[in-house]
Amino acid sequence: MVTITTVDTLQEAAASSGQGSSLLGGGTLLMRGVNYGDQDVSRIVRLRQPTPLAGISSEGERIRLGAFATMATIMKSGDTAFLHPVARAVGGPAIRNMATVGGNIFAPHPYGDFAVALLVLDARLRMSDGSEMDLDRLLPVRDTETRLVESVSALRPAGDDFRFLKVTRVKPRGASVLSIAAWLPRRAGRVSGARVAFGAMAPTPVRVPEVEAALEGVNLDQNGIERALQSVANNLNPPDDSLASGWYRKAVAPVHLGRLLLGQGTR
């Protein structure tokens, strides 16, 4: 039997969370668990009024997204135009009206497309105890983290520095065979300080430092990106699932990374 506890603040929610207790975001994954008798969900904690934690605000060169902001909210905001293609890649319209930023960070493989983008945008999380934490540090330990996410601050990229691509088998909507986000600032035409992250290529969304290092100082042309493409397969060990085998993911990832880096087929 699943019990529901309704609280007024995220801090109360964190205090009452524990083993088998989960915070309700949009419920697209949690309620699925409830409907199918998932034994890991025995208690749901929900905020009576999540709206105050669902806002989007500008903070200089960064943007802050409330953890309860939905993909649909992001698609409606002019401040987050660079994130529209990413939010649009999450499920169909009804899912996007429900799916939250916070829930996406905790969504298991092969989900988490939005978190992939956040990873390359230097995402910093504000946690329920007021502390700050980088998203790269949370993802590997997210299953044991007891603090909740209150909001996310991300860099606002310039021009075409930010790119995102999602590969699915079911069109127009489907879960990821893989997704890739890249942040590619350039100096005099050469990449400087690249960030590249993959979704559905590891148990959680991940950045790949070896790929990023291989892009340092190169031009974004076929020659320039060759070493980065080669290092994808050596540094990722993707899981098998019903959408694709790990072997297949590894085989096609360099092809899609190449398209993204050369500016072909981004969405």
């Binding site: 039997m1 309704t6 697209t28 319209p93 009804a94």
Partner: protein, 161 residues
């Protein structure tokens, strides 16, 4: 004993008041608690869209909506589309364009389409496809549904295949 929580909301413009069980989803409450059988149970996991309802005018999957979260909100289902004996333009267009075969997906398709036309009265074919992209139909091959939604918006239909 399982706790019961009172929930009040607007259902197709009339007020509804029900007691819901802990963790009960909105689809179950609509069908068993309120007796509105128009939203359908297909998968219970968000993939088929047959349970689509509008909450505050936006499409949501009622099977994944915790019922008590609709307290004070407006819920619309296919049951509220017709005005007495007069079918909604979308329902007429679905009939005229053979957009329903077994009919199981139809209530979800209608609500997804209604949300689109309420916001975008003359959508492009691509916008229609996008609007129903979370709804699965195993019978029609989708073209008749897309044609029907285009027709309901007063635009000529254009079959693609």
């Amino acid at each position: 004993m399982m706790a019961k929580t009172p929930v009040q909301f607007s259902l197709n413009g009339s007020s509804a008041a029900v007691f819901v069980d802990d963790a009960q989803n909105l689809l179950d409450v609509l069908r068993r608690g309120v007796g509105d059988l128009t939203p359908k149970y297909g998968c219970g996991q968000g993939t088929c869209g047959s349970c689509t309802v509008l909450i505050d005018g936006e499409p949501h999957l009622s099977c994944l909506t915790l019922a008590e979260t609709v307290e004070g909100r407006s819920v619309e289902t296919t049951n509220g589309l017709a005005a007495g004996p007069n079918l909604h333009a979308l329902q007429e267009a679905f009939m005229e364009n053979f957009a329903a075969q077994c009919g199981y997906c139809t209530p979800g398709m209608l609500m997804a389409a209604k949300a689109l036309l309420d916001r975008t009265p003359r959508p492009s074919r691509e916008e229609v496809i996008e609007a129903i992209s979370g709804n699965i139909c195993r019978c029609t091959g989708y073209d008749p549904i897309i044609d029907a939604i285009m027709a309901a918006s007063g635009q000529a239909t254009r079959r693609t295949g």
